[in-house]
């Protein structure tokens, strides 16, 4: 049995390391996506790549980060001063804009240095090349989505691996920003590494390794304990994405959650086969979604680590929407499919523990990328944002309006920051009244955001719940689906949920995000 005092003390020490990394990354980064919207995560890993402690950042990164570290471990051999990066979804990444930077932590002994573990951080880059600016395209294979980075070394023996940097920068639209953000990611890992080395000096490598192991065991015990409180049984649910942007045929995700004594099996068998469009999730994304749901439902009040997932067995058949095969397109899998995986899991668990589960939230991130040539500043630009919506109502509370839910929690970009930096203008940013599902408790309202373009630009929309609706629970009504509209030369028309279009000067685009589902009959 691990020491219940020491484990608790070390938990604080290790989380503190991840938090300091996050503070450093946010402050030093260049792009508004990282600084203003905080679209990044930082974590500490043991020597085999288990995530030991993580600062509370973006849920979609949580379960998936260890697979990036493991991906690097499988491909590379590390020496002191080396730093790796990876974004390949088929080698531990999630989608290409998320670049994960991994640093080994070596501790110097008398004769040789010992590997203590890793620190890593993942940040969403505003552009990594590919067919459309912002690298969240309407793609049909991964090669269109951007520059694929398998595990490679960003730094070798403390020196920049210049060839890799040059190659990457030649393949992205805004290289200066990428350099700045990557340097910030390096700075974050550097401070994390220093702190871990300090801890190793203070307590000894072996003790620290044992402490990390104890922390994993502790999280596992805690998860088992809390799983034991759920009623034993098998609970099934299904829901669908609107389509993949090419064939507007719903893409169905099925799940059966089996709760046994202190264990759970999550089986996605029966889920639709992977599609041509980018709504395919790679396995790490599915894993993150499952980790998120159990963490919320069990009320796990501990730092997320790999131990939390040990009692949960996932069956995700290969070649389906929840475990895509190379080289299928995956850009929207991370941001949209992940949300629907959460929806079906909550729908299933609502049958097991209705008191703990809210109706469906907006179920999309309303991804919008705008790119082109900024004539004002004489440079190319790429801008990415996501828009909050209605949250689902609960048994005892109305759903919150105009917020991000579940797998993301990124901030909006202030209008006054955005208009200064990019050639478009926001005309309206408001709550979308009447969009929340009716019920004893009302679903939260979605948002309306209207863009006026000051020059032509390329716009890509990856939005879901434009056809299907966020479900209500216990006879509560569904939330309203979202809507995308474009006004050109005074004529307004609806746009599909997922599309890529050329927009002219003076065009006006309006995104209306979905409302959350209601709870209980009115």
């Amino acid at each position: 049995m691990d020491d219940p005092i020491r484990t608790e003390v070390m938990k604080h020490r290790l989380v503190s390391v991840a938090e300091e990394m996050g503070a450093r990354l946010q402050r030093a980064a260049f792009s508004s996506n990282i600084k203003e919207r905080c679209d990044f995560s930082c974590a500490v890993f043991d020597e085999t790549g288990n995530l030991v402690a993580q600062a509370a950042h973006i849920p979609v990164h949580l379960g998936a980060m260890p697979l990036s570290v493991q991906g690097c471990l499988e491909t590379l051999t590390f020496a002191p001063g080396d730093v790796a990066m990876v974004n390949d979804p088929y080698r531990g990444g999630t989608h290409l804009p998320d670049i994960t930077v991994v640093s080994p932590i070596f501790v110097n002994g008398h004769t040789e240095s010992t590997l203590l573990g890793f620190v890593a951080n993942r940040a969403h880059h505003a552009d990594v090349g590919g067919m459309s600016a912002g690298s969240m395209p309407l793609s049909q294979e991964i090669f269109q989505e951007g520059f694929i980075i398998p595990p490679v070394k960003l730094m070798v023996n403390g020196q920049k691996n210049e060839d890799v940097w040059r190659l990457l920068m030649a393949n992205v639209r805004t290289p200066d920003e990428r350099v700045g953000d990557l340097q910030a990611q390096l700075a974050a890992n550097h401070i994390g590494m220093e702190r871990m080395q300090e801890l190793a000096k203070r307590f000894g490598v072996q003790t620290l390794l044992a402490d990390m192991d104890a922390l994993l065991n502790y999280s596992e015990r805690m998860t088992c304990q809390l799983l034991g409180q759920l009623p034993i049984g098998c609970y099934a649910f299904e829901d669908a994405l609107d389509g993949d942007g090419f064939a507007e045929k719903p893409a169905v995700i099925k799940v059966a959650v089996t709760i046994e004594r202190e264990r759970a099996t999550v089986d996605f068998s029966g889920t639709d086969a992977q599609r041509a469009g980018s709504i395919n999730a790679v396995y790490p994304v599915t894993l993150s979604s499952v980790a998120y749901v159990f963490r919320c439902v069990l009320g796990l009040d501990i730092p997320a680590n790999s131990g939390c997932l040990r009692p949960i067995h996932i069956i995700a058949p290969e070649g389906t929407l929840v475990n895509a095969r190379h080289p299928s397109a995956v850009a929207a899998g991370n941001v949209e499919t992940s949300q629907r995986i959460v929806d079906v899991l909550l729908g299933a668990l609502a049958q097991a523990c209705p008191e703990r589960i809210p109706a469906a939230s907006q179920g999309t991130m309303n991804n919008l990328t705008i790119g082109g040539w900024d004539a004002r500043h004489g440079r190319p630009f790429a801008y990415y944002e996501t828009i909050g919506g209605g949250m689902g109502a609960g048994p005892h509370s109305h759903g919150v309006s105009g917020r991000h839910s579940h797998m993301t929690n990124t901030l909006n970009t202030p209008v006054e920051a955005l208009e200064y930096a990019y050639p478009f203008r926001i005309l309206r940013y408001a709550l979308r009244e009447g969009s929340g599902g009716k019920g004893r408790q009302q679903g939260g309202n979605g948002l309306i955001r209207t863009y006026e373009f000051l020059q032509s630009a390329e716009v890509t929309l990856l939005c879901d719940r434009r056809v299907t609706q966020p479900f209500g629970l216990e006879a509560g009504k569904s939330g309203q689906p979202g809507r995308n509209r474009l006004k050109q030369n005074g004529v307004e028309k609806d746009l599909p949920g997922k599309c890529s279009i050329l927009i002219q000067k003076d065009d006006v685009l309006t995104i209306e995000s979905p409302g959350g589902g209601g709870f209980g009959s009115h």
Binding site: M1, P4, I5, T7, E8, V9, H12, R13, V15, S16, E19, E20, R24, R27, A28, A29, K35, A56, P59, G180, A184, A187, H190, Y218, R221, M222, L226, Y292, C296, L300, I302, I357, I387, G388, M391, G394, H396, V400, S401, G402, R403, H404, S405, N409, T410, L411, N412, P414, V415, E416, A417, E419, Y420, I426, L427, R428, Y429, A430, L447, T450
Partner: protein, 679 residues
């Protein structure tokens, strides 16, 4: 503030007043006989002014009162949502800016988030047709007629206070100013964002503007009443930035004093530490339910990223980090079998088990009793007797819930108590790291200044964990905040967002500060600050083009080099060839005041045996030993005490471990040389 007797030969009093949850503290200095007194009376939460007036009558009857006051009225108005009837007017399309905020939820893993409602409801949020672009050019002219119907609604609804915040008003305030003028003419209390915070980011600016509109009328009523009833010669209040400001200037700017409570403690800590020769300090204020920490590197560190009751405020406030860990924090065993401390707290009622008021669960305070570090008959200098048995019983019960093998020589209750202290310390060590290393400051060159009631038992262990060489515990630490009020300079902050390009010269930036410097001088003049006492500092917020956070550096001809250097220090890299943007220019106008002289005594011999009480069993880091206890009230300047030892003070108890050596300095501070960790 004149040191001389006034013309009518009345006695002069300088009075610092701090309102706490339980006590209202007074520090009263009389220049006539150079006496400095510290007094407390019970607070009157339903009407805080009552205790203030009572105390003034008692401690400064018939005299000229120069009062500095830290008020919690504005903070409470927000926390309890009991501010003025406030409306809000903004640019067409954006009335929901307060409802949407930054579109994030406060906790990631909470499926049912509870989000504090904005101070102004949607119904009282109004839009006017108007628009500026990012350079301040008028895109859509103001539809002046629309204001009429809004004014009508405001009057029908008996609205008192109106916040006006238009997009890009910091680049061109003409629309905002026109609306503000009209509303003022109609008798409303008006806060325009371009007056209170001409800085970009619409949500944060609007929130700050609305907070000001919401609290200022309430603060105004409170201060008006005090001013009328206590007839001070001079009346200042402490602001959240740690500077004082005259009541007449404070009244329209309630947002500036919103976090003045904890600010007094930091100013006081800086003052006493400075006298003792420490200019680089970590302040550590551990109370019953929470702990406040901050960093002072000669100057008090301020931030513009504070939040009160769910509302961001972007005026400079002292950078204080708070964690929910205090003497009353409760222990429990969680589902994974770990011992946890907090965030639950026994509060004041029932309080820790050892208070004997029915508390059954062990708190941090109970842990110290079980370890013998907090003598049951020496609490608050012996004013209150603790029930040690109740503390032991609480740990006995906890021991039944946990799987733990006690260390040799300790029983399970002592071992758990020791663990509880280690965990509470881990919480607070994290807080101290946030405020120091995460802000790029090295704690190893600082002193830890502890002034909370529960702090003395933790200060040395925390200092040791962070490599901090010295701990300072001031005398009468509990009234440090009231003393800080008297030591606070006059301070006024001004900011303007400018968004200037890379080729902006030093001279051009200086020009940008001219208006603010003039305003600062006028405001200081109104504060009766002579030109000799006035200090103007000019700074600029700079970032590399493309970045969205900025770094504040002094405005000198070297500003570019300084920026690269500070960036390098803070983030490990810099780009001297990359273009920069100048985001904001700032002016800080300071009026230096003379703080009250603190009595200084000659040092006696180091022999402290006259202060010795007795020896008792105390659990040290891993064993039990007989440890000498000292009465703090008998310790004299010059005395030295080596650990292990317990110093029983009137408002805190200090634990010295084996490696720690304390001495009493000429100002009666306890200065502790903290030894390194043992193994």
């Amino acid at each position: 503030m004149a040191l001389l007797m006034s013309q009518n030969n009345q006695q002069e009093f300088w009075i610092g007043i701090d309102i706490g949850g339980t006590f209202t503290d007074f520090v009263v200095y009389s220049p006539n006989n150079r006496s400095l007194e510290r007094r407390k009376i019970l607070s009157t939460p339903s009407d805080p002014a009552e205790a203030v007036l009572q105390g003034l009558e008692q401690f400064s009857h018939s005299g000229n009162r120069h009062v500095v006051h830290g008020s919690t009225v504005a903070t409470n108005a927000i926390l309890e949502r009991k501010g003025a009837r406030t409306a809000f007017i903004t640019t067409k399309g954006f009335r929901d800016v307060l409802q949407i905020g930054r579109q994030d939820r406060p906790k990631l893993y909470d499926l049912f988030p509870s989000i504090p409602p904005p101070l102004v409801s949607r119904e009282w949020s109004f839009e006017l047709t108007e628009r500026m672009d990012y350079e301040g050019n008028i895109v859509t002219p103001l539809e002046e007629r629309e204001l009429k119907s809004i004014i009508k609604t405001l009057k029908n609804q008996n609205v008192e206070s109106v916040a006006v915040s238009f997009l890009f008003s910091f680049m061109n305030p003409v629309h905002e100013q026109w609306v503000a003028t009209q509303l003022r003419a109609e008798g409303f209390f008006v806060t325009a964002s371009s007056e209170i915070l001409p800085e970009f980011r619409e949500y944060e600016r609007t929130s700050t503007t609305v907070v000001n509109a919401y609290v200022s009328p309430v603060l105004d009523t409170y201060l008006g009443r005090l001013e009328q009833e206590m007839t001070p010669t001079e009346f200042h209040i402490l602001q959240s930035n740690g500077g004082r400001i005259s009541v007449s200037q404070a009244r329209g700017h309630g947002v500036r004093s919103i976090l003045s409570g904890p600010a007094g403690g930091v100013v006081g800590a800086r003052f006493v530490a400075g006298l003792a020769g420490f200019t680089r300090i970590l302040t550590f204020d551990m109370g019953g339910t929470s702990t406040d920490v901050s960093f002072v590197n000669d100057e008090i560190r301020v931030t513009s990223e504070a939040e009160v009751g769910g509302c961001p405020i972007r005026v400079p406030v002292i950078d204080i980090h708070t964690v929910g860990s205090g003497g009353g924090s409760l222990a429990m065993v969680d589902a994974g079998g770990n011992l946890r401390v907090g965030p639950g707290s026994a509060g004041a009622d029932p309080g820790p088990a050892c208070y004997g008021r029915g508390g059954r669960f062990p708190t941090v305070t109970d842990a110290h009793v079980v370890l013998g570090r907090l003598p049951a008959d020496g609490f608050l200098g012996g004013q209150m007797t603790l029930k040690a048995e109740a503390a032991y019983d609480a740990f006995e019960e906890l021991g039944r819930q946990i799987s733990l093998q006690a260390l040799p020589g300790l029983d399970i209750r002592q071992n758990l108590a020791l663990g509880m202290i280690q965990i509470a310390n881990a919480h607070m060590e994290r807080a101290l790291r946030v405020i120091s290393v995460e802000r790029g400051e090295d704690p190893r060159e600082a002193a830890l200044v502890s002034f909370g009631g529960a702090g003395g038992l933790h200060a040395c262990d925390l200092a040791r964990a962070l490599g901090i060489p010295h701990v300072l515990i001031p005398p009468m630490a509990a009234t440090l905040s009231a003393l800080g009020m008297l030591a606070a300079d006059v301070q006024l902050d001004y900011v303007q967002t400018v968004m200037l390009p890379n080729d902006t010269t030093f001279e051009m930036l200086q020009l940008q500060t001219v208006g603010m410097v003039r305003q600062g001088k006028e405001d200081l003049f109104r504060e009766n600050i002579s030109p000799e006492q006035a200090v103007m500092t000019r700074t600029v917020d700079i970032r590399y083009v493309g970045q969205s956070f900025d770094i504040n550096v002094p405005l000198t001809s070297e500003f570019r080099q300084d920026f690269d250097r500070v960036h390098q220090e803070a983030y490990g890299y810099s780009q001297p060839d990359a273009p920069i943007e100048i985001v904001n220019v700032r002016v800080c106008a300071i009026g230096r005041i003379t703080p009250p002289p603190i009595p200084c005594q000659p040092l006696a011999s180091p022999d402290s045996s006259s202060a010795k009480w007795e020896e008792r069993s105390v659990v040290l880091s891993n064993r039990v030993e007989a440890v000498p206890h000292y009465w703090g009230s008998r310790l004299q300047p010059g005395h030295k005490v080596s650990g292990p030892a317990i110093l029983v003070m009137d408002d805190t108890t200090v634990y010295l471990a084996l490696q720690d050596h304390a001495s009493i300095d000429a100002y009666s501070n306890i200065i502790i040389d903290v030894g390194a960790a043992d193994g």
